[in-house]
């Protein structure tokens, strides 16, 4: 703002203030308004003068805001500065599926599961730092160029493997709520993809035929309906059946380097076609395996089936309320180092170097029986049973778990839950559960304890823990009495 403007504004303000005072005096002396309203007008000035002043303030505020918004770097929109970079695209093998991620140059170490084939794809892409999640993002849609070369795996300074890129595809198959993935490499990938495409085409043809048949059937049904209204006796043919979905999705044919290594620490680098190491391609590679493998159970209580619990560790105990019903869904579990497993799924994840271990749920076990062993009783064997969960109708909230009965009208309907039904007995009881294979062999790592707690008052537990103190009082008092005896007898 120029000086003349400021001076002019000061004059206007002073003049306005003087006029306001005079006007307030006139109003005070001439009118018969209340004293309160006069004072108010004196303080605030006349409505016209106040409006002008407010207008100036508003203008000044808008100017300041505009200046601030245009000049401040803090409130400027996030500027994503893209840069071309060498990255490794990773399709890391998990327990029974694959997870996709990428490792920008800022990631020094890649983590993979031992003895499972993962796929690494050297790529040039454009990356940018996304401060909100504190990680680099890749603009694959802008640039996605495979980098030709041979992947070298180095251990102890020696190149132990040289792997060439090949074509691969991953097929994801859905079973209920589970998704299982299968990797095909090389010629197998082409064959699998061709099979998938044929299946897809067949399905599309079936769907087209189904839609046509459905339209014909609707027309037929409408016609039959009209004739029925006229009094004719009609028979409606059965509705066409929807074709079975193929249940498989594919990520298509891609180029990548399949890596399968035993557990250990390695280095990897990409040697380009010119014989030189591609810049930014040298990374550490940590390949890790499971510490323990067992059979875990998903424990579904009947009263709250939407919030199941998980039994993983071999020493875990299922403690349930007396006379309650639970369902056990068996599956494999493996125990991995928590730090490595987190970075396997997302190499850019901000995790500390914890020494904790984590159990990871694997594929469901669909065959075998559950043996219930209670003291003094013959072992009872339970079979896997399908269940359907229905919401309780009416105002009562909750769910009902009922045995699943296949409906011919809905042949594609699947059970909500397949598990072993377990009845928790009276307080103080307990038994052991363990799985046996269809051949009758006991499955290792499947044994767990189920207990119903006894109602024990806290006072009893506290009394027990006070026992050492009671002993201490007895010992120390006796000792002091013994020490006093000679003095007492002398006195």
């Amino acid at each position: 703002m120029r000086r003349s403007d400021v001076e002019r504004r000061s004059l206007v303000t002073a003049k306005g203030a003087k006029n306001a005072k005079v006007q307030a005096f006139i109003v005070f002396s001439q009118s018969s308004r209340s004293l309160r309203s006069s004072r108010l007008e004196y303080v605030t000035g006349t409505p016209a003068a106040g409006g002008r002043r407010r207008g100036w303030w508003l203008l000044l505020t808008i100017c300041l805001l505009l200046t601030g918004l245009t000049s401040s770097g803090v409130v400027r929109a996030q500027d994503s500065q893209r840069q071309r970079a060498f990255v490794y695209g990773i399709n890391a093998a998990l327990e029974n599926t694959y997870t996709g991620s990428f490792a920008p140059p800022s990631v020094p170490t890649l983590y993979l599961l031992a003895d499972q084939t993962s796929v690494i794809s050297p790529r040039m892409t454009e990356i940018y730092f996304w401060a909100i999640t504190n990680e680099y993002k890749a603009s694959w849609e802008l640039t996605n160029e495979p980098v030709a070369g041979t992947l070298e795996i180095v251990q102890g300074g020696q190149v132990i493997q040289q792997i060439e890129p090949t074509s691969y595809t991953i097929h994801y198959q859905t079973h209920g709520s589970e998704v299982n993935a299968q990797l095909f490499v090389g010629r197998d990938a082409d064959t699998a993809q061709a099979r998938f495409s044929a299946e897809q085409q067949r399905y599309q043809a079936d769907v087209t035929a189904y839609h046509k048949a459905q339209q014909d059937w609707i027309a037929l049904a409408d016609d039959a309906n009209q004739r029925a209204q006229k009094g004719e006796k009609v028979t409606i043919p059965p509705a066409p059946q929807e074709p079975e979905p193929i249940g498989v999705t594919s990520n298509g044919i891609n180029q990548g380097i399949p890596v399968r290594l035993p557990a250990g620490s390695y280095q990897m680098r990409l040697r380009g076609r010119d014989g030189a190491i591609v810049p930014d391609s040298t990374r550490a590679l940590e390949v890790f395996g499971a510490r323990r493998t067992a059979i875990g159970y998903m424990v579904v209580p009947e009263t709250r089936w939407t919030t199941p619990e998980q039994v993983d560790d071999l020493s875990d105990v299922i403690v349930g309320m007396p006379n309650s019903q639970i369902y056990l869904v068996p599956h494999t579990v493996r125990e991995f180092p928590a730090h490595a497993y987190a970075l396997l799924q997302d190499p850019q994840q901000q995790v500390g170097g914890t020494t904790d271990w984590t159990w990871v749920m694997g594929a469901s076990i669909t065959a075998g029986q559950l043996e219930v062993v209670a003291a003094g009783q013959a072992p009872e064997r339970l079979t896997l049973t399908p269940y359907r969960v229905s919401q309780v109708a009416g105002t009562t909230l909750g769910y009902q778990i009922q045995q699943f009965v296949p409906d011919p009208q809905h042949p594609t309907a699947a059970p909500d839950l397949v598990g072993f039904p377990i009845q928790v007995d009276q307080p103080g009881s307990g038994f052991e559960i363990r799985m046996v294979s269809p051949q009758g062999e006991l499955l290792a790592g499947s044994s767990r304890l189920v207990r119903t707690p006894s109602a024990t008052p806290l006072s009893l537990l506290l009394l027990l823990s006070a026992l050492p103190l009671v002993v201490g009082i007895a010992v120390i008092v006796r000792r002091r009495m013994q020490l006093r005896l000679p003095r007492n007898s002398a006195g």
Binding site: S106, F129, N134, R292, V299, P301, T303, R304, E309, Q310, V311, D313, L314, S315, D316, V317, I318, V319, G320, M321, S324, I326, G352, G353, T355, P427, G428, S429, G430, L449, R451, T452, P453, S454, A455, T456, L458, L460, L461, L462, L464, S465, A466, L467, P468, L469, V471, G472, I473, V475, I476, R479
Partner: protein
């Protein structure tokens, strides 16, 4: 084989070990251990420690029962692992404090000088205190284990058998704590300074993992480099080192290995504890001979 009290030089000369002295040292160690045990059993701190472990365990178990009563189901991970760990850790902490005062307090009072009029030497004294420490821990375990067993029976929660094996192996881990306390006790100038030194040591033991967690929560200075990288690596290295030195970490790792029935891991921890115990005991013997028996 006698440590004189006239001058420090004479003490050092007289304290040279010979093979013939070992039976005598063993006898001295046993006598001292019995005396120390008697003294500890006539004090309140032993019984308070013996009661505190089961008390906390009872509260922990009751909390689980309360949870089952309200939610209907609980997957009790490693039942009685935390109660046993709390009980043994408290016992270890008590014994570390006891050992820290075991040499320095009688030295302050002049009793240590009197003790050395008898045919005893640093080996016998440290050995005796080590034996007493193990015996005290054994008594504390003998007091706590049946109570935990009783709580298990009353509540119908199982007490895992592998945990009993871990409990049986735990005295080896406790010897590390006792010898660390004895080392502080022999080197410290007074009881006060010994306790101060112990407090500082425990603070360092606690501070390293906390510092590492705190460093992890500090975001990187730049997206391209991390100014705290070296510090993080250093504190992490210290933390890893501590897991093989600290008796508390060794104890929890040993119990964990026992719970997993990983006997090789347990054996490694026991070896580490035995080596640590020998090293700290040697330091305590050196400290006693160096520092002498005079206040």
């Amino acid at each position: 084989m006698r440590i004189g009290t006239s001058t420090l030089r004479k003490e050092r000369v007289a304290a040279q070990p010979t093979l013939a002295a070992w039976p005598l040292r063993w006898r001295v160690a046993r006598l001292l251990a019995v005396q120390e045990l008697r003294d500890a059993l006539f004090g309140w701190s032993f019984y308070l420690t013996a009661a505190l472990g089961p008390l906390l365990s009872a509260l922990f178990v009751y909390n689980s029962l309360n949870f089952v009563a309200s939610s209907g189901l609980q997957i009790l991970a490693r039942p009685f692992y935390v109660p046993v760990l709390v009980t043994t850790t408290l016992a270890t902490l008590y014994l570390t404090t006891w050992a820290t005062l075991a040499i320095v307090r009688p030295r302050d009072q002049g009793a240590l000088r009197v003790l050395f009029f008898a045919p005893v030497d640093a080996y016998g004294v440290i050995g005796g205190h080590l034996l007493a420490g193990i015996a005290l821990y054994g008594l504390l375990t003998l007091a706590a284990a049946p109570l935990l067993g009783l709580i298990s029976v009353l509540t119908n929660l199982p007490f895992p058998a592998p945990l009993l094996i871990g409990l049986l192996a735990s005295p080896i881990f406790v010897t590390v704590a006792v010898t660390i306390g004895l080392s502080i006790s022999t080197i410290a100038a007074s009881s006060r300074s010994a306790m101060f030194f112990l407090g500082a040591t425990l603070l360092v033991l606690l501070a390293i993992p906390i510092a590492y967690t705190a460093l992890l929560s500090v975001p990187p200075t730049s997206r391209y480099y991390d100014a705290l990288l070296f510090l993080r690596a250093l504190v992490r290295m210290l933390r890893d080192l501590l897991s093989w030195i600290s008796p508390y970490t060794l104890l929890s790792a040993g119990l964990d290995a026992a719970m997993r029935s990983n006997w090789a891991d347990l054996a490694w921890r026991l070896v580490a504890a035995a080596v640590g115990c020998a090293a700290w005991a040697a330091l305590a013997i050196w400290g006693l001979r160096r520092r002498g028996v005079l206040p």
